[in-house]
């Protein structure tokens, strides 16, 4: 959402259920949308976003607006049947869509190899003739260049691409997940050796960015986050009348 240019304040306000939230406090952590920023969710049902993404791509193709859809889903979501139904139609109809699997090694408490017969998710489009690329999701520049290749492919009218971003999840799945299914060492190793932000930092320094500028940047980010949290904390809850609005668009 941040990458789509959405203000962190309204995101934080949604997370805390405030009237100023991006869904007026009515959606919550799993249900955030911004049609203004072309961000279409935010879906609480694992896997459901994939055919919805194919539908958005269908609309781009239908109207000929030149747009394409990026549909993100997890390694766990990749096992839902509807994902493959969407793959088939997307390939069949040459839809402008990039399917992005964020393979972070776990679906809640289930490690990838305990839930998936084929753990190389970029191969999962093969049966539908969808080309797949495996990408180090912890490397910002690699992700960027892979995305450029994928976008160019889709834009040239060759149909969907499947990108697998190999990444990691530092925290438990939720606040009540003690994450007993993996070792602390595994997490620490990832944080210490593969952290994408540390790596980007190192890359910037290597390319000659001054350390002070980085510090300054970090400070700015911190204060932006604090500002968003303060904004959310100090915003009122939604008006009671909001309970009944937005159920239907029209009146009958």
């Amino acid at each position: 959402m941040l990458a789509y240019g959405i203000d962190p304040k309204v995101i934080m306000a949604e997370l805390t259920g405030r009237g100023a939230g991006i869904s007026r406090g009515k959606g919550g952590s799993m249900h955030m949308f911004s049609t203004e920023h072309k961000f279409y969710g935010g879906h609480g049902i694992v896997g459901a976003q994939v055919p919805l993404g194919a539908g958005l791509a269908f609309a781009h193709q239908y109207t000929g607006d030149g747009g394409l859809c990026m549909a993100y889903f997890g390694d766990g979501a990749a096992n839902q049947g509807q994902v493959y139904e969407a793959f088939n139609m997307a390939a069949l109809w040459n839809l402008p869509i990039i399917f992005v699997v964020e393979n972070n090694g776990y679906a809640m408490g289930t490690a990838v190899q305990r839930g998936s017969a084929e753990t190389h998710f970029h191969r999962r489009g093969t049966a539908f003739r969808i080309p797949g690329i495996s990408v180090n999701g912890m490397d910002v520049l690699e992700v960027r260049s892979a995305a450029e290749v994928a976008v160019a492919h889709v834009r040239s009218g060759k149909g969907p691409v499947l990108m697998e971003l190999i990444t990691y999840r530092y925290r438990g799945h939720s606040m009540s997940d003690p994450a007993k299914y993996r070792s602390r060492e595994e997490v620490q190793e990832m944080r210490d050796k593969h952290d994408p932000i540390d790596a980007a930092k190192a890359e910037l320094l290597k390319r000659g960015m001054a350390e002070d500028r980085l510090k300054e940047l970090e400070k700015q980010i911190r204060s932006k986050v604090n500002e968003a949290a303060d904004f959310a904390e100090n915003s009122p809850e939604p008006e009671m009348s909001e309970l009944y609005t937005d159920v239907l668009v029209e009146s009958y």
Binding site: S29, H31, R222
Partner: protein, 458 residues
């Protein structure tokens, strides 16, 4: 600038916890990601991570302290001004048990602590008089029901997301993997339509599957197998092909998880001939009816409630506590009005009955327990006694179980009615996320009591 570290809410229903262990001491330097303490909730022991950097100044709550309220300042970090921030940041996703942001401990609608009920409960006539009782949570009662049936019948197995190694997303299957092994306690990928079909097929093949849905919201992905495969096969095969499967899991609204994760499917499944639908409230019914469900030759949808899992109730100490399917139970006797409910609504109905008793209204509370087949007799008998009925249902009003109860009263109890039957349901909107709107959308004891006063013309 000093930063206050507050007791975090580690689940939506957590109001307090035990500060089991400090992993840092005063004077230690910590950075973001360091584990500060272990905190025990009713569900798990959780690690409390630092989000800030600095030096631990003061530890204010000693390790081993029980009942530390969420939001209590437990320690103070000193840090450079402007670098850190005292607010714990939310997790990226709240799922399915997660609360994305620590809340003040409010007794939200439907949730909150159980209040002691003033009036003694009438004993379940199905339980022999004089049976010893012990306290048991609904969560344990359900687990014990499965374990007992698995010991008794080798055809019984459990499958679902996170049921084995993780010990259940809500810890209902805790310990089953250890006792029964991976052949009978099976973790599935996130593919509800697929494993509901495999469960139904295994039942057709002679096994006794218990299919756990992490919540029934996710069973919508699988509803075709529940209805088209499980419910209709016996009929369509002229009685040759049975499907004795149990689909179980939490149903209804939890707390602060939004519209897609908060829905009561009772009326949906109760609409379908060929299914048994059970929605118990207390631990004794959860255990006795789940055992009956597993033994049934018919497909059963067994609807639990996350907010009730942690509540303790009397459980009869019987070697084999099995209850009849299709029988309602009087949870509280009264002569002035009948409140009909099921699942979490029963707790609210009992609470309302307590309130009303103070005003001189003796409310009878009837727990339907089974939604299909529905115990019409019990409803009509109680109506004949009290002449007034209110239905309380944590779910939408239109085409609800409440609508069905009202129809039954009209069709077969009309002559006994002294007032129109009223229903108290959730507001007719998708469940909102904000705490104030969520509370306003859900039924509560006050609303039930108000409806009762109305039918009593008080």
């Amino acid at each position: 600038m000093a930063i206050e570290l507050k007791m975090p809410a580690l689940s939506p229903t957590m109001e307090e916890g035990t500060l089991a262990k400090w992993l840092v001491k005063e004077g230690d330097t910590v950075k973001s990601g360091d584990i500060l303490a272990e905190i025990e909730t009713d569900k798990a022991t959780m690690e409390f991570e630092s989000i800030d950097e600095g030096v631990i100044g003061k530890i204010l709550v000693a390790e081993g302290t029980e009942g530390v309220k969420v939001g209590t300042v437990i320690a103070v970090i000193g840090a450079d001004a402007g670098v850190a921030h005292p607010q714990p940041l939310p997790q990226a996703r709240g799922e399915p048990d997660a609360q994305p942001f620590p809340l003040p401990p409010a007794g939200g609608a439907g949730g909150g602590p159980v209040r002691p009920e003033a009036a003694p409960r009438p004993a379940d006539p199905e339980v022999p008089a004089g049976t010893n009782m012990r306290q048991c949570t609904v969560r344990e009662a359900l687990r014990d029901a499965m374990a007992e049936e698995m010991r008794r019948d080798s055809r019984v197995f459990v499958m679902g997301e996170e049921v084995a190694q993780y010990q259940g997303a809500y810890k209902v299957t805790q310990g089953l993997l250890d006792e029964f092994g991976p052949k009978r306690v099976i973790d599935t990928p996130i593919t509800e339509y697929g494993f509901a079909g495999i469960g139904a097929g295994a039942a057709m093949g002679g096994l006794r599957p218990i299919v756990e849905f992490m919540t029934f919201n996710f069973a919508m992905q699988a509803i075709d197998h529940v209805i088209n495969s499980a419910a209709k096969t016996n009929y369509m095969s002229g009685g040759q092909m049975r499907c004795p499967v149990v689909f179980r899991g939490p149903n209804g609204a939890a707390s602060r998880v939004g519209a897609q994760h908060s829905q009561n499917y009772g009326p949906w499944y109760a609409n379908v001939p060929g299914l048994i639908v059970i929605a118990p409230y207390d631990a004794a019914d959860a255990k006795g009816l789940l055992k009956a469900a597993i033994r049934s030759e018919d497909p059963v949808v067994f609807l639990e409630n996350e907010l009730v899992y942690g509540r303790s109730f009397d459980l009869p100490e019987l070697d084999d506590h099995v209850l009849p399917i299709g029988k309602a139970r009087i949870m509280r006797e009264g002569k002035d009005v009948t409140i009909v409910s099921y699942s979490i609504g029963v707790g609210l109905a009992l609470e309302a009955a307590d309130l009303l008793a103070g005003e001189g209204i003796q409310a009878e509370v009837l727990d339907l327990r089974t939604l299909r087949p529905l115990d019409r007799e019990a409803v009509l008998t109680s109506l004949a006694k009290t002449n007034r009925v209110v239905v309380a249902e944590e779910g939408w009003p239109q085409c609800s179980i409440a609508s069905e109860i009202i129809a039954i009263c009209m069709e077969d109890g009309f002559d006994n009615l002294d007032a129109p039957v009223l229903r108290v349901c959730n507001e007719d909107v998708p469940l909102p996320y904000a705490a104030n709107l969520e509370k306003a959308a859900m039924i509560d004891a006050a609303r039930i009591a108000a409806a009762v006063r109305k039918v009593c013309y008080r």
